[in-house]
Amino acid sequence: MKFNLLLAAGLLAGSSLISASQAQDQINLTWQMWGDENDTALWQSLADLVTEEYPNITVTPQISGWTDYWTRLPVLASSGQIADLVAMQSMRMPSFYSVLEPLDPYFESDGFDTSVFESSIIAGLGHDGTQYALPYDVGPWMVYYNRDKFAEAGLGDPALDWTFDDFKAAANALTEGENYGYAVQAFDFVAGPVALGAEYFDDGNNFAVTNPGYSEAVGKFVDLVAVDHASPVFASGTGAITGSGRFASGNAAMYIDGPWVLLNTKDSVDFEIGVAPLPRGEGESRFITAGSGWGISATSQNKEAAYKALQVLTGPKAAEILASAGRALPGRLAEQSYWYDVAAQDVHRTHEVLAYMFDHSTPFRLNEYWNEFENLITQYMPLALNGDSTTDAVLTDIQNQLPF
């Protein structure tokens, strides 16, 4: 009896030691990400992939809305509550380098090769030769067009290297009364001028938006609205979202956005859509790309585990899941085909257009004041579009407020 008791006590102690040791190895990571309720299951399925690969690591997504995310992130970072894994958009990177752990030492430790990703987004998530995040998606801004309306107007599909004059001619031809050929949005005054060959920075990477080349290129897009009336004016409060609504309702035949909206756009229209590169200027086509990825918080207590999780979250299986759901054109080149098979299915020439655009991509030049510049564009461009001010005056106003 005594022996049995001793044996039971020993087993109990042993099992508690084992479970204590397991508990010590168990690592719980938090993962800050944006999204809506529909995305929750998708992000959770990616988090589960990490646990499948590393049973002692669990990843808990903390999802917030897009706008909230960018308000919360700096507040959480400054109060030491930032998650282990942090979602980051390439355009906002310059404000957050200090929040993220440089990944290069980790790459050196396991020989990780970043060439499996699209080079433009790898550059977009790094700075001065240091990589701060790995991408999950990538894409250039491109022209979405209503193929049915193009056909009705006797217009063929735009050429890959179509010029601004071709674009303007199509916009004018497709405009009739309150039905517009094009719906301008705030970001068009960034992606559009760059495609026309203009620069908004000087050689020192400081904003110089009053330079003649940029001013002229912006003026071309402004004239489409203010002079040709081929596009409606957007309001400063809705600058980033009106184009998609007008396009979906058939009120505008063209608008500019990235591949990240392709699946939703395709599902929300009752006509055939096509995609085309942004129009070029006098010179060669050139396009900026953006995308998002995940980095490791510089203050994380579990960086090694976070790096393992990061590799899974940006790995082939995760990219396949995201691409197959149509959620993102993967930053991983090998898995992009899944996205083309799902999101881009039945959308005319998507593969060809994106391949052309990636071949002609140019670095997206950013600095820490980028966010302010984008907000000022949204706030001030309507003045030029409705004829209250000139393009030059608006750009001077914007320049005067940078880098405040």
Binding site: S98, G237, F404
Partner: protein, 311 residues
């Protein structure tokens, strides 16, 4: 007699000591009951206020360590920031127009409701309903109504009225914000003033009627003076909230077009949370605080001339 006095004399002393002990015990108990509230107030009110003062003298960018920069944020605000004075002008313009419209409309509605024989409760509820609705939701719906090609433009077009699109016009954009603010905010003062009007003794009004006072006389010389303390409260609170206007601006215009609708409340958000200039945003917040204090002080000073208290 002496014996009675001798024996009676210590009684008040004992009661006094007993009461004093009781008071101290009650005081301690009260202190412990109030302690959570006190801690909350210190942590979430006093400390942030002090922190905000300190931050206004730093260049804190939210990420990173703040550095003391003296009064340079204040100097920059008043002398170098091209947006500051237009923003102050916009804020005062919004406050003046919104305050006058809100008080006049809400008082008019309150008088109208109190004159109704039936359905007073229903109308109070109807006008108070927007006050329940979250400001952001209200602003989103109105933004869609006023946006180019939206419902408002459709109605104007159907009526063949040539009006520029409200949110893209520099003058009309602020008017759109004021319309939305009035719609959302007028109900609170309406209910407040209506309750005050109902408290006016009917005997005063009956006596005035018998003496031949007209309806306007009864309103101007009896009802209005008697509700003036409530009117004063409503005016002060409305002025304070209108100087802090943010939700409608953030959703509907983002300060635009240009800086036509940019106000101090929005500027604080923009500098602090979009541009990560938390020190500078704190400076603007203190300027806004000073403006609110000054306006409130003026209102309190002016109240002597038009507010009538019973005492």
């Amino acid at each position: 007699m002496t014996a009675i006095e001798d024996t009676a004399a210590p009684a008040p002393l004992i009661r006094s000591r007993h009461r004093s002990r009781l008071d101290r015990r009650e005081g301690r108990a009260a202190f412990f009951f109030l302690l959570p509230g006190l801690i909350g107030m210190v942590l979430f009110l006093i400390v942030p206020i002090i922190a905000s003062v300190v931050l206004s003298f730093t260049n804190w960018k939210l990420l990173g360590t703040p550095e003391f920069v003296g009064i340079s944020n204040y100097v920059r605000l008043f002398t170098a920031d091209p947006q500051f004075w237009p923003v102050v002008r916009n804020t005062l313009f919004f406050t003046a127009e919104y305050l006058v419209l809100n008080i006049v409309i809400s008082l008019g509605l309150a008088v109208w409701i109190s004159s109704l024989k039936m359905g007073q409760r229903w109308f109070r509820v109807i006008f108070f309903l927007p006050t329940f609705t979250p400001g952001i939701a209200v602003a989103i719906v109105w933004m869609l109504i006023f946006s180019p090609g939206g419902f408002f433009d459709y109605v104007m077009g159907a009526l063949s009225v040539q009006v520029p699109s409200m949110l893209t016009d520099q003058t009309l954009a602020m008017q759109a914000v004021i319309i939305v603010s009035i719609w959302a905010g007028v109900g609170y003062n309406t209910v407040l003033f209506n309750a005050a009007l109902d408290m006016v003794p009917q005997s005063y009004l009956e006596a005035a009627r018998i003496d031949g006072a007209t309806a306007w006389d009864r309103f101007w010389k009896i009802r209005l003076p008697l509700i003036s303390p409530t009117l004063f409260f409503g005016t002060v609170m409305t002025a304070i909230t209108s100087l802090q206007v943010f939700d409608q601006i953030y959703v509907m215009t983002r300060g635009g077009p240009g800086n036509a609708t940019s106000t101090l409340g929005y500027a604080i958000y923009q500098r602090g949370f979009q541009n990560f200039q938390m020190g500078y945003a704190s400076t603007i917040a203190w300027v806004m605080f000073a403006m609110i204090m000054a306006l409130t002080a003026v209102q309190f000073w002016l109240q002597r001339k038009w507010v009538h208290y019973d005492n």
